[in-house]
């Protein structure tokens, strides 16, 4: 089954890439007061069991996909 893990810089954590994007958007004339840059990881899992998929994705996120010291993550499993 298909799943998406979205990783974001935690609130309060400095996000220089976000600041760079905000500055560049401003130079295009957009009034943007804040931009934060994260990451999306799209996955296809071998399992068809949504509960198992959520459990696996949680472990993937904490062991590798996100650094819990500086990032938060959200899991979405297609069709659940």
């Amino acid at each position: 089954m298909r799943a998406t893990v979205t990783i974001r810089p935690k609130p309060g954590i400095l996000d220089p890439p976000g600041e760079a994007v905000q500055g560049s958007l401003a130079s295009l004339g957009f009034a943007v007061t804040r931009a934060r840059v994260g990451r999306i990881v799209e996955l296809e899992l071998a399992t068809d069991d949504p509960a198992e998929a959520h459990a696996q994705l949680g472990r993937m996120a904490t062991q590798l996909l996100a650094n819990p010291l500086i990032e938060s993550y959200e899991i979405e499993v297609e069709g659940t």
Partner: protein, 231 residues
């Protein structure tokens, strides 16, 4: 046995400073040996392990995040747990933080720019075994070259590790937004040390400052102690 302790320098795909590190270690009295990241084991009778700078695995996902899972890292963790001296420089520091062997994480530099220049760092009173011969407040001149050297830890962690003597080196000025101007930290025991500046690029007066010499000499001394050999 001779006084030259063997020190393993790990090469990951994308490591850049492994060659300079081997040369520098040789200059300060070690017998460096190159070790490949995909190896399962460290060679026998190793006095210390160094994770050098570079862009392991292209810095994909996050700096150091993929390298922490390299097969050799299991052996490095065991070596560290047994008290073996481990030094991580720049990307090596990022790998040790990602691996949970050192506290904190390295964020993008606050000024949004790669920074490449000589800086002055001050030695703090800390548990770091490799720096025990250096008096606190000693200053060393070393080059830095990084885009993601902005060390971060939350308030609680920062207070804890400060109290435990894990803040090892500080920049004397703000160079990248690093919390408390921290340039290097060690683990609680002091055998694992990570820093963003490059001691291996600062050993020959022909090429600039030589602040890396006493630091790497300290690692060699720690490696000798670990192996139980005399100088």
């Amino acid at each position: 046995m001779s006084g030259r302790p063997t020190i393993a320098v790990v090469t990951f795909p994308g490591s850049l400073d492994d060659g300079d590190m081997r040369l520098a270690l040789e200059l300060v009295g070690a017998e460096p040996v190159a070790v490949w990241h995909a190896d399962e084991r460290l060679p026998g009778r190793i006095g210390a392990v160094v994770l050098p700078g570079g862009f392991s695995y292209g810095d994909y996902l996050r700096c150091g995040a993929l390298a922490k899972l390299a097969p050799l890292m299991r052996a490095v963790r065991t070596f560290a747990a047994e008290g073996g001296p481990v030094l991580g420089v720049c990307n090596g520091f990022q790998i040790l933080c990602e691996a949970g062997l050192l506290p904190g994480a390295l964020l993008a530099n606050r000024q949004l720019e790669y920074v490449c220049r000589d800086v002055t760092i001050a030695v703090e009173e800390s548990n770091a075994t490799a720096l025990r011969e250096l008096e606190p407040t000693t200053t060393l001149e070393l080059p830095i070259k990084h885009g993601q050297g902005n060390w971060y830890a939350d308030d609680e962690t920062l207070a804890e590790i400060s109290a435990r003597g894990q803040i090892t080196l500080r920049y004397t000025e703000d160079v990248n937004g690093s919390r408390g101007r921290v340039a290097g930290v060690c683990n609680e025991v002091g055998n694992v040390l990570g820093l963003m500046p490059h001691p291996e690029h600062a050993v020959d007066p022909l090429l600039g400052p030589i602040g890396g010499r006493p630091m790497l000499a300290g690692l060699v001394a720690a490696a000798r102690d670990h192996l139980g050999i005399a100088a």
